[in-house]
């Protein structure tokens, strides 16, 4: 089963995704596929907090900031994969290093191919993304390109996944499918 979870920031998406992945995996193996690259102390603190929060839940952590479907090769496709997050994956694929000034136009097709490889081959997959589309601002072309690209990946995943969930202040809204857990 494939599940997409999106919603605003600090809504409990990761905690909820872990809960779903835990239930989906049963007695099988479960992998936390971490996509964020830590660049500063704030990032590192966030990573530490996530590691603490999932301690004892039985996840094996796979760091996969780019080339997302390689996690299947590293772990073997059986098992349950929690991909956290599509947002960071896209960022890393668009900007190959921290000084890059141009977004790589191949990032979206690359991410799309990798993500669909996971939905097609993983035992179960839970994807976490971020909903960044409903604010009153005029962004520069750089930011608009990123928003449009993330939306394209979200929509690809929404189509491919069995279940699509929006978390709103910790509340669950089903946009597609359900969870028979």
């Amino acid at each position: 089963m494939n599940v997409l979870i999106s919603g605003g920031c600090k809504n409990g998406k990761t905690a909820f995704a872990q809960e779903i992945a835990l239930k989906l995996s049963g007695s099988g193996r479960r992998y936390y596929v971490a996509t964020m690259l830590a660049f500063d102390d704030e990032d590192r603190a966030r990573v530490e907090r996530h590691i603490k929060e999932r301690a004892g839940l039985g996840f094996e952590t796979i760091e996969q900031p780019r080339n997302i479907s390689a996690c299947l090769d590293r772990a073997g496709p059986d098992g349950t994969f929690l991909i956290d997050s599509v947002t960071a994956l896209l960022l890393n694929e668009m900007f190959q290093d921290i000084d890059a000034t141009e977004a790589d136009p191949g990032a979206v097709p690359r991410c799309r191919e990798g993500l669909l490889k996971i939905t097609a081959n993983a035992g179960n997959a839970v994807f976490v993304s971020d909903y960044i589309y409903s604010d009153a601002a005029r962004y520069d072309a750089f930011t608009e390109n990123y928003r449009a690209s993330l939306a394209a990946l979200d929509r690809t995943l929404a189509e491919a996944c069995d279940t699509v969930i929006e978390l709103c202040a910790g509340n669950v809204i089903f946009h597609k499918g359900g969870l028979a857990l």
Binding site: D135, A136, R155, E166, H175
Partner: protein, 125 residues
């Protein structure tokens, strides 16, 4: 009138085409300069119209009320730009509020209201 709202790039226009069989020729797209043209079967990017209203000191809801008979059979599409944090700039703040007020008014008037999330439709009314 039916109203379709949702975030940027979520597939609002695609939903209108799929649901009502519109082609691009049926859809009027509001612009920062051009404003709105009532009477089209479908009006997209209403948030551009509300931004123009804010910049010209006009009330979008009042304009819609004045033209009430002209949009009764239309499908109206608006980005829900009113969900994020309150912006620092005064015109962005006014834009956010006027768009929120217009969508609330139109939701009340609409036969059906849909929200689009990641390409998936959700019926709100």
């Amino acid at each position: 009138m039916d109203l379709i709202i949702g975030g940027a790039y979520q597939g609002k226009r695609e939903l209108a085409k799929r649901k009502y069989g519109f082609s691009d020729a049926d859809i009027y797209t509001c612009g920062e300069e051009s404003g709105i043209v009532f009477g089209a079967r479908c009006i997209d990017k209403m948030e551009e119209f509300t931004l123009k209203c804010v910049r010209e000191g006009q009330d979008a809801v009042e304009i819609f009320k004045e033209h009430r008979s002209e949009w009764q059979d239309s499908v109206l599409i608006c980005q829900d730009i009113f969900c994020g944090v309150v912006p620092m700039g005064a015109d962005m703040r006014a834009w956010r509020e006027s768009t929120g007020r217009l969508c609330a008014f139109l939701s009340g008037e609409a036969a059906n209201v849909f929200r689009v999330f990641c390409g998936l439709e959700q019926r709100l009314k």
